[in-house]
Symmetry: C2
Subunit: 469 residues, 2 copies
């Protein structure tokens, strides 16, 4: 008797839950059982996904893969083969070209007052020094604002050194402020007469690991070489400066501009059942900087997005809209994959329903931000509800942004959602030689896969419009 | 009234303590008030010592200081000036010569199956490759024992790669076992026909920071180049090996042997009042590897020992025996400062009463080990009692060893004491470019200074003989 009663209660509960669930589904424009399916995807991912094995494969079998190089081409070949092997159909490359740049030899040493070598690296896009290098005194600026305040001509014949130190933040928001030094510092220093600029790495570690990253020149101003010292080396120069000593440096970098170079986005769709032309985009970027093997930037994103797509592919259900997995090319050198995609698909802009990219390392997702229509907000709230048990808190519902490569689409009006990862440690490794597989915790990747699968499934399986009318 | 009573009680307590203390002092062969003086030294050090400022000065104003180079000579000049400035008298250098070696250019890349650069460094004392480098297939051995088991001739034309991974231990004891690969691996590999050897770094971190360190050749066996990969690079080769792939490497190192080179020990005494010829030795080593600025290896030891001596110098009391501070030269290349000192002072061997060296990083002291006469054991027990409140536990009383540079003296019969530092993290940084000042916690140095001051004071202020009859 006891057993029979138990079963009956269970049955009643299941029926009750089930009818609630169905009501939920239809109110959110979803097919029947869609929310339960999203939960199942989440729980399956949390029990272990293939994200880590994908990152392992990419970082081992390709390694560093700078945009526009033969190594990035091998990464595209790897991606096509991997997606084929995983059972995706119609994997394709959308090629485009970029102006290539490659790091060359690099050496720098303090000549006076205390001779010693310096650990540093050339910034991406920097011009070379003369072949014999540059030998000059350093003028130290505590911040970019101090450099900007220097009088024109005051740095003639000098090397500017800007030492402002980036702080850790969970959301990585200090990168914007501090990163401006890397992106724009060279032309600002050149406008004051400097012959080169050295910056403290845009990074939060304390290792002899200089951080590279892209920079640009103001076309109106003379181009001077630009490089980043590791944080301990920047500390060292600050200590010497504090002694009132003039520092003299010998500095030689020989990067080359390699001209028009092939790159591309690797794309595959899980075809929708009702509106296959409408696509929900997930992805990560395939290129990396040349110093490390691009594990956290962005092998992790490739692994997370691919594993989420694979989970849905294998789930036996297809959503109404298509889910598009994009493994972006040439992100590091100016989001060029994102711009190329927009250019190619701008006639279908309205079909790019919503998207998100994983490109902030391998830490857990802690926050969901979005910017969607009022109509679709309840569905985003439902996503947040499903993700709360795995540690994701609802964030802003007025936050455009879906990851770097989707910036061009978002600026063009595409609704967006972002699964923010914990970035406290991200800038310890970002753009350094130390960005390698050993830094990734597979279980943290699984949590990301769960979040991506929930987002991609629900966004693709609804009839709701994410775009405000 | 109340106040008067309080004072009386205090006075009685002080008198009682004082008479106990005096009894203690005389039983231990110490001058009156000696134990209290040791406590005061300890407590003063714990409130802040100058150890950190000394390391800061050495690592900033000299930086890397490889034995036998002009940089090590600058370190000796720095040391003499610093000790003069601190008020020590009769600072002197005992010079000697060594066979110099300097690192040259280094490059290595995996050519197949997955082309990528490797992060590695030449081992100290290695011969160069031919100018054009070496290109060869790798044979991977999980351990040195596996390499030793390989058949003669089985590695002809190959590069041996030995991947055994060092584990962290508090006492650093795994260095002996794992370090043998670095010290002796080249000749073992050469005896099997290998053209070069690559090893996994003897280090416990997971950064792209290869660990250098000294190696030696068996004079009977052909000399082949030897280098260490960073741990993440070694992991990478293991992953590729696990795929069953043959790895081909291009490898080029150009170190040079610089012939007879000057080095030396910097020495100063705090002269004893009763037996000034008898010396208690404390110190650290002045040379460092060339990659980092030698903060933990061994700027920390220089700072700790010098600050302890300075504390005693400024304490207004002089011990019976002399305290000798030795800033050793050429430790990294074979304890050559220690051997030179023994050679020079072997006629005074009986006057070298006891000694200890700080050369295990900047972590706190956690254990006191010693090997002294039965007569002196109660004094060592007293040292342990005084150090217990600052976190030092008594260890073995049958443990010869006083630090690397005192090994020759200890082997020749000098009693020894060792203040073991926590070494769990030491081999994360040891012999890498990452051995820089930012890794040091000043308060941990102060605790070391306290321990060194207690040891040096009590050992020098006693009449007890440390050497067993």
């Amino acid at each position: 008797m006891k057993k029979l009663i138990t079963v009956s209660v269970k049955t009643i509960l299941l029926l009750a839950l089930s009818s609630t669930a169905l009501a939920q589904d239809s109110e959110l424009g979803l097919s029947d059982g869609s929310v339960e399916h999203a939960k199942a995807l989440r729980d399956t991912a949390m029990q272990g996904s293939m994200a880590y094995s994908i990152v392992e494969s990419l970082t081992t079998e390709v390694g560093p893969r700078l945009a526009g190089t033969e190594a990035e081409a091998r990464a595209r070949d790897w991606a096509v083969a991997k997606l084929d092997e995983l059972g995706f159909e119609n994997v394709r490359i959308e090629p485009f070209t970029i102006q290539g740049w490659e790091r060359g030899s690099e050496s720098a040493e303090l000549l006076a007052p205390y001779p010693q070598p310096l650990s540093f690296t050339t910034l991406g896009g920097s011009v070379a020094t003369p072949e014999a290098g540059i030998e000059a005194d350093i003028v130290l600026f505590p911040s970019l604002a101090d450099l900007e305040a220097a009088a024109p001509g005051s740095l003639t014949g000098k090397i500017a050194f800007v030492s402002h130190a980036m702080q850790k933040t969970q959301d990585g928001s200090s990168y914007g402020f501090h990163g401006r030094l890397r992106r724009s510092g060279a032309s600002i220093a050149a406008s004051k007469g400097a012959v080169a600029i050295l910056i403290r790495s845009i990074g939060t570690d304390s290792h002899r690991m200089p951080h590279t990253g892209s920079m640009r020149y103001d076309p109106e101003i003379e181009k001077i070489p630009a490089a980043a010292l590791s944080n301990p080396d920047a500390d060292q120069l600050e200590r010497i400066h504090a002694r009132g000593e003039t520092m003299r440096v010998r500095f030689n970098v020989q990067p080359t501009f390699t001209g028009e170079s092939e790159t591309g986005n690797v794309i595959v769709d899980i075809r929708g059942t009702e509106s296959p032309d409408e696509v929900v985009i997930i992805g990560g970027h395939l290129d990396s900087w040349d110093l490390g093997t691009g594990a956290i930037d962005d092998g992790a994103g490739i692994g997370i997005a691919t594993a989420a797509a694979k989970l849905i592919l294998d789930s036996g259900k297809r959503p109404k809209r298509s889910i598009r997995l994009i493994l972006w090319g040439a992100e590091e050198v100016g989001l060029l994959g994102g711009f190329a995609y927009l250019e190619r698909h701008k006639k279908d802009l309205e079909k790019q329903i919503i998207g998100t990219e994983s490109d902030f390392g391998a830490g857990k997702v802690w926050q969901l931000n979005s910017q969607v229509s009022e109509e679709a907000q309840p569905l985003v709230d439902k996503m947040a509800e499903l993700l709360a048990p795995i540690g994701v808190a609802p964030g802003s519902s007025n936050s455009p942004g879906a990851g770097p490569d989707l910036t061009p689409l978002v600026r063009a009006g595409m609704p967006s959602l972002r699964l923010n990862q914990d970035g406290n440690d991200y800038f310890d490794l970002h753009h350094t030689a130390d960005d390698t597989l050993d830094k990734i915790n597979p279980h943290d990747l699984d949590q990301n896969v769960a979040a991506f699968a929930v987002f991609a499934w629900l966004a693709a399986d609804t009839d709701l419009r994410f775009k405000a009318p």
